[in-house]
Amino acid sequence: MTRDLINLLFFPAGLGLIAAGLLYQWVDRKLLARFQNRLGPRWFQPFADALKLLGKEEIHPAGSSAFLFAALPVLALAGALTAALYVPLFGLAPVFSFPGDLIVTLYLMSLLTLCIGLAGAQTRDRFSLAGALRVFTQMFAYEAPFILALLSPAVALMLAGQPSSWQIGELVLSAAGQPWFLLTLPITFVVALVGLMGKLELPPFDAPEAETEIVAGALTEYSGRGLALFSLARAVELVVGLTLVTALYLGGIGAGPLAAVLFTAKTIGLLLIVVVLQTLLARLRIDQTVNLWWRLGSVLVLAQWLLLLIFRVLR
């Protein structure tokens, strides 16, 4: 019981997770800045930002539901934190686990996007509305390929006749016995990683918050606490997403005393790739994003599955 509480509130979930999220966010910002020939923030900047925002006055815009306005950021953060319970944070066993939790986690991860979209759609601000429209459009674009890409390892195991499951805890254990799925399923790995960038609205998929067009997109009207909670939720989602992709594609949890360190290093390595992509790519227009995912993303995933089937039949 006490152990559960500590797990929930402090480590690996809860405060520890939020702190980790903010640190990852710092790594992201710092690396991006260094790649762009800037100095970048000091390590405590995301913490300072979050604290400062939490202490600021929250202005509730007229014409929107006060309840939803306050509830959506809480729901978003709750969704992200809950999703974290089912993934092997820092290479430790998931806090909770039940059959099918992979699917549940994927949906919990979408909760953040939904909340952001709703938050924008329920204010009367034109930038928010345009932003919300883009958030939902983008979600429908990347969601299917992204989910399929994250289910691919399980499907591959199943097709290979290995013990497979929709339960993250078991899946990563059997993945640990396999060669990295990064090598056997390279295409879906790329889709999963790029899909994660779409989910987190990182460049080049930052059209929903393109400040030169629609200011801050769906969150234009948010200030103070609400904005802080959304940004914390994003930070947590960054960790959860990276953890999930690492666990599924980069050799599972692993074993031994250094497993946790190694796992964390892998997630940071993934983050590095994400930052490099952010540096290199210019923002896509929303219609171009949709085209990219439906014309290329989903086709790639299906091609990978087809390849799996062909291998299966040939053997």
């Binding site: 460049p203 210019a282 227009r285």
Partner: protein, 399 residues
């Protein structure tokens, strides 16, 4: 994306908006993501400079004119100085003219690099933005070495220039130009090859040759659509007759062409700066005598600013002060094309199209009065009042 056709709403951009570095107000009516109507409102940076010029003498006006724009300050003062010198029938020494041209070209480099960064930022390509602005520092350092200032070089005086090209600054120029040339080749490669960036520029905001002529666009915006107009060649001023520029023409007329036209111009500017530094004529820096009073008359002075043709009309009635100084900036010509081009485009392309003409709002908005914010009676301030207020204010602060 699938909003019904009747669901239109107006997206205001400006007066304060992250896409605009200066105040302007645009209202874009959109259907879903497609722009169906656009209007513009300018004047937020209206400072009354044309009127102000009427109350100052010829020399004071030079310094006022220089402050029309923070980016192309030298070209404004050059246009004015060339016009006034023509009115006064003063012969400016060749060396002074060549130094003016060097600064004109350095300013063009500064302006185009700045624009490239802003445009990249609006395309969501912040990496390019950061790098171009880092490199822009090189040319600003050169200008600082030459003139002591990064922005308002104050190089012109009526009848010549204020400072010579020293050996030290010549070395700095050649070194800086070499570095920038290498960088510009790289940026040209990025702009013409980066697939993601091309998606935002190729075929966007296309203006055909005929449209460009009809809309009356000027400068690189026009030259990207194949309109062969460049005042530096058509009506050479300062030393452009002896050190000619080469026109950079492209025919595609889309945003990509506007990027390439400006980058090609950068490369030509580097060539021209080298030629100028190598072949700088010897001689004086200023004319022997510049009269305080000018004969009655009027003069038209046209120069090629980084953004296109800059037009000055100066009228003298024989006094110490100009009777009328009319400034027609290139942005005003190009602004009309933004309104026409954006219609039918995606909302996301609007900032790109807007930035594609390299708008300069403070150039655009000039003429009328000084008002202090929060002044109860809303009284307009005469120059003397303002001067007195300034002196009193600083005296109060000191005490």
């Amino acid at each position: 994306m699938n909003a019904p056709a009747t669901e239109r709403f107006v997206v205001p951009i400006g007066p304060q908006h992250p896409a605009l570095k200066e105040p302007g107000h645009f209202e874009f009516t959109v259907e879903g993501e497609t722009v169906v109507d656009a209007t513009v409102r300018l004047g937020y940076a209206h400072r009354g400079i044309e009127k102000g010029a009427e109350g100052r003498n010829w020399t004071q006006t030079l310094y006022l004119i220089e402050r029309i724009c923070g980016i192309c300050s030298h070209i404004h003062s050059t246009a004015y100085a060339v016009g006034v010198e023509q009115l006064a029938e003063v012969e400016v020494p060749a060396r002074a003219q060549a130094i003016r041209e060097i600064i004109c070209e350095l300013e063009r480099v500064h302006s185009h690099l700045l624009w490239l960064g802003v445009a990249a930022h609006d395309a969501g390509f912040d990496t390019l933005f950061m790098y171009t602005w880092r490199d822009r520092e090189t040319v600003m350092d050169i200008l600082e070495t030459m003139s002591g200032n990064r922005v308002h070089y104050s190089a012109n005086v009526l009848g010549g220039v204020k400072f010579d090209l020293t050996d030290e600054s010549a070395v700095a120029i050649l070194k800086g130009v070499e570095f920038l040339e290498e960088r510009t080749h790289h940026y040209r490669k990025v702009v013409s090859e980066d697939a993601f960036f091309l998606q935002r520029t190729r075929g966007v905001g296309t203006m055909t040759h005929a449209e460009a002529l009809a809309l009356g666009v000027v400068g690189p915006t026009a030259r990207a659509s194949g309109v062969a107009r460049d005042v530096r060649l058509d009506a050479p001023y300062v030393a452009y007759a002896d050190f000619p520029a080469r026109i950079q023409l492209l025919t595609a007329g889309d945003l990509e062409a506007r990027f390439l036209a400006r980058l090609d111009e950068l490369l030509d500017s580097f060539r021209l700066i080298r030629v100028l530094v190598a072949g700088l004529p010897a001689g004086e820096l200023t004319a022997k005598r510049m009269p305080r009073k000018l004969k009655p008359g009027e003069v038209i002075s046209r120069v090629e600013a980084p953004r296109g043709e800059l037009f000055y009309y100066i009228r003298s009635t024989g006094g110490e002060q100009p009777d009328r100084v009319k400034v027609r900036t290139p942005t005003l010509c190009n602004m009309g094309s933004v309104i026409t081009q954006t219609i039918g485009h995606n909302l996301a392309d609007v900032p790109m199209i807007l930035v594609g003409i390299d708008p300069c709002f403070s150039c655009n908005d000039r003429a009328v009065t000084v008002r202090r914010a929060g002044d109860d009676n809303g009284r307009a301030w005469a120059w003397a009042d303002l001067r007195r207020y300034g002196i009193d204010y600083y005296r109060r602060i000191r005490n």
